[in-house]
């Protein structure tokens, strides 16, 4: 097995203590071991593998861009998210929607924009920070003048201000819960559309840092368990708030490094949980940023601090749905547009883990467009959007 999977892989040693956690971990390892074994025997005769099934994924995305099956009813109030996940996946695969299709997505997102400046989960619902973030990212990925001009920046600013709490945290919606996602969403859209002010985010970094736990990762709120998704939000928010010096980076790095699974190669979301393809983004996104910080601090090249090859192997060998495209959490799970987006987003980061050098596992054609680890927007779309809004007129605050 080691011939193809580049490093020795260690399974869980439960030291003869059987618990629910160890039982499910061992089951996953067994399943993945079989998949790795059959991969290795195929690799004997096909040196090209693992291959990214690009066409299948493109078809999967195209199909879902317009109509989603009934089981997506539970995401009926997250439709801008669906737009964002699909647009980001498409951009990473170096595909573009037709001019007409872009216009269709833009018209739909207009329907989701509330007069208050925020976006809603769908037409006729209340504005909410999460779909606001998703809609604005989707519009940046579409990247046309028509798309950018949808955003009413002045109202957006007022909307963000209306969700701000005195301690610097943000609520997700008017009666809503506040957590670290909300600060991340607010900071991201404010930076993207160039409406960031110190007043809007006064105290926010001090609130966010309270979410870093004794383990090193961030929880959704102070006191709550460290978790990959919230860690991404917390750490990226600190960067966007230019307050990353507040973070205990050493402790964060230890925690996130430990979230890479020694057998599977993918990441778990929390200590002692199972691997899940979506954390290929949420967890792995922290590494290039930390490396960059350490490089400027220590004035020496640092390189990548996780095993980006093992991560690519997990994604390519275990997370591609073999029947009709789309990407998955782990073998045995069905594909969905959320996992398709975050698995591809993480794969792109791993392929570009070292600047100006190819880190692509498998055939060179596997390469995806480069992704930005703070915004999770494909880089050319992101640069174009940032430039556009940088040149936009100042709003009245």
């Amino acid at each position: 097995m080691n011939k193809y999977l580049e490093i020795p892989r260690f399974k869980l040693d439960n030291e003869s203590i059987e618990t629910n956690t160890s039982i499910s971990q061992i089951q996953v390892e067994k399943k993945i071991e079989q998949i790795f074994k059959s991969f290795c025997s195929n690799a004997e005769c096909d040196p090209e593998i693992p291959v990214l099934h690009r066409e299948d994924h493109i078809n999967y995305i195209k199909k879902h861009m317009f109509t989603l099956p009934e089981n997506y009813e539970c995401l009926d109030s997250s439709r801008p998210w669906l737009c964002y996940w699909l647009c980001q996946s498409f951009a990473l695969l170096n595909c573009e929607l037709t001019t007409e299709e872009k216009s269709d997505v833009v018209s739909f997102l207009i329907k989701c924009q509330h007069e208050s400046g925020g976006f809603c989960g769908g037409p006729n619902t209340i504005p909410h920070l999460a779909p606001t973030y998703a809609a604005i990212c989707a519009l940046c990925l579409i990247g046309t003048e028509e798309a950018y001009s949808v955003i009413n920046r002045e109202n957006l600013y007022k909307f963000l201000m209306s969700l701000r709490l005195p301690n610097g945290s943000f609520k997700m919606h008017v009666y809503g819960e506040s957590d670290v996602r909300a600060v991340y969403c607010a900071a991201t859209v404010a930076r993207l559309t160039n409406i960031y002010t110190d007043t809007l985010f006064e105290g926010s970094a001090r609130w966010v840092i309270r979410c870093q736990t004794y383990e090193g990762g961030f929880g959704g709120l102070p006191g709550v368990e460290a978790h990959g998704g919230y860690t991404f939000c917390g750490f990226s928010a600190l960067l966007l708030l230019q307050s990353v010096h507040m973070c205990d980076t050493k402790s964060l790095l230890r925690w996130v490094a430990n979230k890479q699974m020694p057998f599977e190669g993918g990441f778990q979301g929390r200590t002692n949980k199972l691997v899940d393809g979506c954390y290929s983004f949420w967890q792995a996104a922290v590494f290039p940023v930390i490396s960059g910080l350490l490089e400027s601090e220590e004035k020496r090249p640092i390189g990548s601090l996780y095993d980006y090859r093992a991560l690519q192997e997990y994604v390519l060998i275990c997370c591609q749905y073999k029947y009709y495209g789309g990407l998955i959490d782990k073998p045995g799970k069905p594909p969905d547009v959320y996992h398709t987006c975050y698995v591809l987003s993480g794969l792109s980061l791993a392929q570009h883990a070292i600047k100006n050098s190819s880190c692509v596992v498998g055939t060179p054609e596997n390469i995806l467009n480069e992704n930005n680890p703070i915004y999770n927007i494909e880089v050319t779309s992101l640069d174009k959007a940032l430039n556009y809004f940088r040149a936009a007129t100042q709003i009245n605050y």
Partner: protein, 349 residues
């Protein structure tokens, strides 16, 4: 009316092909809102996705019907028994719609519904949709208004029994314990129980830290915790949860006595032949702290720390080879000492 009847018919024929029998039974007795005479005064509002919809969900007929009427009553702002019933159906179909939850709360408060009954309702919703944000948030709203946490610990315990790592349940439980702070007194018993059921349940370990952190600081208590953690590490030395918790205990106060206890414990484990990666990582941290605080630098300790990094990178923890190689180079740089052992693969750096 003809059109409406047709819709019902085609749905029942669809459902025979695609749904399970219990769903069929439910559907065959189910009357669409568009066919209910008592709803004939409400003007349903169709979803307006614009002329060129994208990410359009292929809603079931039931879903479309319910949400068309829901939009209808949202537009008029009607608060009544029948809208409460409609909202209940709508939330069953999609519990993630915040607009509908907000509307429900407005109706419930307007009708002066018994909030204990409402709490029962949301309990059932949470049992069905543990991973949904909105159900928990709604529960919080009700409990805030009731200002009565008497059922909350038992309820979250029930959910954690179904899913011992439920993020929402733990987060909610912490909110209850903060808001009604007298409840924290018994929380440690609960945590003990969960850790004894699954020593690898990191959420329970996190809750342990939460409890310690929210009780008045007492150095004896921390020492007892240290012993508790040592005992758990001896049972399962490769359990990251207990090692992280140990690290968390050392954060409480700059306490040399604690550090010395941890150092002795780790050294003994290591000398007994244990090579848990978390043990070795902890030893590296202890050595680093030790070297930093003494002058002149203890070269032997630096070299030992470098050897441990090299062992992790090359032997015990190869998936984190580049991480341990970095830690190694960091120690070398800080103390300007090279390790003897050059086994570390520098290809990644």
């Amino acid at each position: 009316m003809d059109d409406k009847n047709q819709r019902t018919l085609s749905v029942s024929s669809d459902s025979y092909e695609s749904s399970s029998s219990s769903e069929n039974e439910e559907l065959s007795s189910y009357i669409f809102y568009c066919n209910r005479p008592e709803w004939s005064d409400v003007q349903p509002i169709l979803q307006d996705d614009g002329p060129t919809p994208v990410v359009r969900v292929a809603y079931s007929r039931k879903f479309s019907d319910v949400y068309d009427y829901l939009r209808g009553v949202l537009a008029t702002g009607e608060k009544s028994e029948r809208t409460l019933e409609l909202v209940t159906t709508a939330l069953k179909l999609n519990p993630a719609n915040q607009t509908v939850w907000n509307y429900r709360l407005d109706i419930v408060l307007y009708l002066k519904v018994d909030l204990h009954v409402e709490l029962q309702y949301v309990s059932n919703m949470i049992r069905k949709f543990i991973k949904n944000y909105q159900v928990w948030h709604y529960r919080k709203n009700i409990v805030k208004i009731l200002n009565d946490p008497s059922a909350e610990l038992e309820f979250t315990a029930e959910i954690l029994d179904m899913d011992p790592k439920s993020y929402h349940a733990w987060q909610y439980r912490q909110w209850v314990l903060r808001k009604f702070s007298h409840l924290i007194e018994k929380e440690m018993e609960f945590v003990d129980k969960l850790i004894s059921q699954d020593i690898m349940n990191n959420s329970a370990w996190n809750q342990r830290h939460f409890v310690i952190n929210n009780l008045a600081y007492d150095s004896n208590k921390i020492v007892k915790e240290l012993q508790y953690t040592f005992d758990k590490i001896v049972i399962l030395s490769k359990n990251e949860s207990s090692w992280n918790y140990l690290k968390g205990l050392l954060l409480f106060k700059d306490n040399k006595i604690l550090e010395n206890k941890v150092r002795d414990f780790c050294t003994k484990l290591y000398n007994d032949g244990n090579r848990s990666v978390h043990l070795i990582a902890c030893l590296i941290d202890m050595l680093d702290a030790d070297i930093k605080s003494t002058e002149p630098k203890n070269i032997a300790k630096v070299k030992f720390a470098l050897k441990l990094c090299s062992d992790l990178a090359n032997v015990y923890d190869p998936i984190r080879c580049s991480y341990w190689t970095y830690i190694c180079s960091d120690i070398e740089k800080t103390y300007n000492i090279k390790g003897d052992d050059n086994k570390i693969d520098n290809n990644d750096i």
